[in-house]
């Protein structure tokens, strides 16, 4: 208080704080006492937080507060409550058939929401967060399916995977016709051009279509079928459509034919519970390409 001096302002007749800036003085307008008391009370109140809540860091931990409050425990309780709330709905999801889920707007919304989350956690690394895929990893939005695009087929693929090592997994792969010496390099170029011609893509000049057809019939028809329409039993892609998992240019096709392809889809049975797998099947099916 020793610095607090005042004198009387001649105009207003009020005392000033004694502070002066360029000849302008600050009038002393006292705060209301109740205000000051309230202010001190808030300070006292704040001390309560130190006592009631975790506050002070110690060397290896911290003070826990009077009631052992922890925000993490709160979150755990809320998550447990959420699981409880979701529990019934997930049971309903597990009990309903895949087709019924798609017909019930509430179950569909739940399956899509749940499926989307689980997809983001488990599938997005390969298939992309929007399931748009990448080279070697199928786009799940389109209507081209290696192993079938019905709800049941999608569910089966998710459950057991492809070439995953699971007992019920999808088997079958693209052989390495070049590496294994089945076809000679010029035969590979010819059949690659023939495959391009199946879906109306341009072919190299001087390409012998008859020779290509013969090589195709001898080596490829077993899996890809007559005319290259593919076979979902063996995961053999349709070669006549516009969708190419590994690329449609000549170099990519030559690589595929000579080196073979055997992409792996892991089996999710055992890792995800059945209701979740169902939700994911419905989600993938609802992306738009499902049959």
């Amino acid at each position: 208080m020793t610095d607090h001096h005042s004198d009387i302002d001649a105009v207003s007749g009020k005392s000033t704080t004694g502070h002066e800036w360029d000849g302008i003085k600050e009038l002393n307008t006292p705060l209301p006492r109740w205000w000051v008391i309230c202010f001190y009370l808030t300070i006292v109140w704040s001390i309560g937080y130190w006592i009631v809540y975790p506050a002070w860091p110690l060397i290896s931990s911290n003070t826990t507060g009077m009631f052992g409050y922890s925000s993490r425990a709160d979150v755990a309780v809320e998550l447990a409550n959420l699981e409880k709330i979701r529990g019934d709905k997930m049971v309903a999801l597990g009990a309903a058939s895949l087709a019924d889920i798609e017909k019930d707007p509430a179950l569909l919304a739940l399956a899509r929401a749940k499926g989307k989350t689980v997809f983001g956690d488990n599938c997005a690394p390969c298939h992309g967060s929007g399931a748009a895929g990448a080279k070697g990893y199928p786009n799940l939005n389109d209507d081209d399916w290696l192993w079938g695009g019905t709800l049941d087929q999608i569910m089966q693929t998710i459950q057991f995977g492809a070439r995953s090592g699971h007992a019920k997994t999808h088997e079958g792969q693209m052989l390495a016709f070049g590496k294994d010496g089945v076809l000679k390099p010029d035969e590979i170029v010819t059949v690659a051009n023939y495959v391009r011609s199946l879906s109306g893509l341009s072919t190299r000049s001087g390409f012998d279509a008859a020779k290509g057809e013969k090589i195709f019939a001898e080596n490829c028809v077993a899996c890809h079928g007559d005319g290259g329409k593919g076979n979902q039993e063996m995961g053999a892609p349709n070669l006549t459509d516009k969708i190419w998992l590994y690329g449609s240019d000549e170099a990519a096709l030559i690589e595929t034919i000579s080196q073979g392809r055997a992409g792996v889809m892991p089996a999710w049975e055992g890792r995800l519970d059945p209701a979740t797998i169902k939700a994911m099947a419905v989600y993938v099916h609802s992306l738009g390409g499902g049959k």
Binding site: S6, G23, W34, W35, K103
Partner: protein, 488 residues
């Protein structure tokens, strides 16, 4: 001019300014007159509306709330008689707040702090609490005497105090009780509350508002206006030289004398002021100020000093309105012997009125023409487009349909933009593949995943604007939303 003081030369005795000021309790005296009557009337209207509005019923049909004014938080709806607002229509409240703000400006430029003096909840409830206090403890002098008295309390005094606080608390409790009724069906909630089956949150809010009403109207009173409310500061910037404020007409009042002295001087033919220094204006003031010191921030302009002064002027046979709604311009004009002029209509008030009319009119127009069917469309971002096995392009959209009406609607969706489009709604039966038909329950929203497919050869552009039309196939009401159809 102040003389500059070197702080180092000051002695402790010079240190006269207190840092903290104790509140000087105000004991407003009862008064009767025009403005007191206006205040009673407005108080009755304001409190009547506040306490009883939740009980007003309004028929909206089966299944919908029948309360005229209801803020339905769990279902995110606001009901006001024939209007039902959804959360996304909150801009109507923005408009209302703008109109309210400009209305305050207009009031201020016409008649000063009309809001503070007559309508503000703080003023209304404080006025009511003062009335209770006066009824039980007596008028100004008695209350001052009782507060100052150092005699040991007698039973009578104790019962007075207990009675006063009980009535205050009952008013405060009713205030809190009325508040929660705006958030739930009032008759049901009242029944639940009195049988102690009401929701805990209701009791908590009643408790909070009981406490604030009791403390703010019973204890804080004018301190709220002086120290806590920003409006006195703002209004000082809004007033102008033509605004009519509660003003002591010093041209008439000065020089102040006593009644006796004034009569003597008048008999001698001398000029004397009408103010007889009776301090009635100070005695009735709910903020404890002296209006004769000119416009002050503490003054809420309730007009009670006008009544008090008028009563005195009538008694001593002088003209009324020594204190009245006036401004400095007229005081100076009268001093110069000219007639006063009142300029209510002037650019400032015209502009404020125009703003109120424009925004109010716009809001009414928007409200009257708003559609009870709406559609929002959000394009899938990942992937934006999908190439199908036959080479055609498919885009996916999240479509949100809003049915704000009180009945279910069957909605047909049409798309316009890409050539030869086909549509599919995920989960919906494909009975009408080219024109999906969806039923949206009343007063709700439906979110759909809509797939639009179009041949690539017919739609060579990278991006085509699309417009989705949704139409109520029964009533023909339509809405639309735009987006783009994108090639991969």
């Amino acid at each position: 001019m102040n003389k500059t003081v070197n702080p180092n030369e000051l002695k402790p005795a010079d240190d006269v300014g207190p840092l903290y000021a104790a509140r000087k309790k105000v004991y407003p005296q009862s008064v009767s007159g025009t403005f007191r009557r206006i205040k009673w009337g407005l108080m009755a209207i304001c409190l009547g509306v506040y306490y009883f509005l939740p009980f007003v019923r309004w028929n909206r049909g089966l299944g919908a709330p029948s309360q005229a004014v209801l803020i339905d938080l769990p279902n995110s709806r606001f009901y006001f008689f024939f209007i039902e607002l959804w959360p996304q229509e909150v801009y109507y409240f923005t408009g209302l707040l703008i109109v309210a703000a400009v209305a305050l400006f207009l009031m201020n430029s016409v008649g000063g702090r009309i809001w503070c003096g007559y309508l503000c909840p703080q003023t209304v409830w404080t006025d009511l609490f003062y009335a209770v206090e006066r009824l039980i403890e007596g008028d100004r002098r008695e209350r001052m005497k009782k507060d100052k008295s150092s005699d040991p309390m007698k039973l009578e005094r104790i019962s007075e105090i207990v009675l006063k606080h009980s009535i205050w608390l009952m008013i405060a409790w009713w205030t809190g009780g009325a508040w929660v009724l705006y958030f739930n069906d009032a008759p049901t909630l009242v029944k639940e509350l009195v049988t102690f089956q009401g929701p805990m949150i209701a009791y908590i809010w009643i408790g909070i508002l009981t406490a604030t009403t009791y403390v703010l109207a019973g204890y804080m009173r004018e301190q709220v206006c002086t120290y806590m409310c920003p409006w006195p500061r703002i209004q000082a910037a809004l007033t102008d030289e033509w605004a009519l404020n509660v003003t002591y007409r010093y041209d008439r009042g000065e020089k102040r004398t006593s009644v006796k002295k004034a009569a003597e001087l008048r008999a001698l033919g001398q000029q004397v002021g009408d103010c007889v220094d009776c301090y009635q204006c100070v005695a009735v003031c709910p903020t404890g100020i002296d209006i004769r010191n000119g416009p002050q921030m503490e003054c809420i302009q309730c007009g009670l000093c006008i009544d008090a002064c008028d009563n005195v002027m009538a008694k001593i046979g002088r003209p009324k309105r020594l204190i009245g709604y006036d401004n400095d311009i007229n005081i100076h004009r009268r001093q110069e012997g000219k007639a006063p002029i009142y300029r209510i209509v002037r650019p400032r008030t015209i502009v404020y009125s125009a703003i109120i009319a424009a925004i109010g009119g716009f809001m009414v127009y928007m409200l009257a023409t708003r559609s009870l069917l709406d559609v929002n469309v959000l394009h899938d971002r990942n992937p934006v487009a999908v190439k199908l096995s036959d080479g055609s392009i498919r885009n996916a959209y999240t479509v949100r349909l809003l049915n704000k009406s009180g009945y279910d609607r069957a909605i047909a969706i049409d798309v316009e933009g890409p050539v030869n489009p086909t549509m599919h709604v995920v989960g919906a039966d494909s009975v009408t593949p080219d024109r999906p038909i969806i039923v949206i329950p009343r007063d709700s929203t439906s979110e759909l995943r809509l797939l639009v497919t179009a041949p690539a050869e017919n739609n060579p552009e990278k991006s085509i604007p699309v417009r989705f039309h949704v139409m109520d196939i029964g009533l023909g009401v339509a809405a639309s939303a735009t987006d783009n159809f994108v090639a991969p």
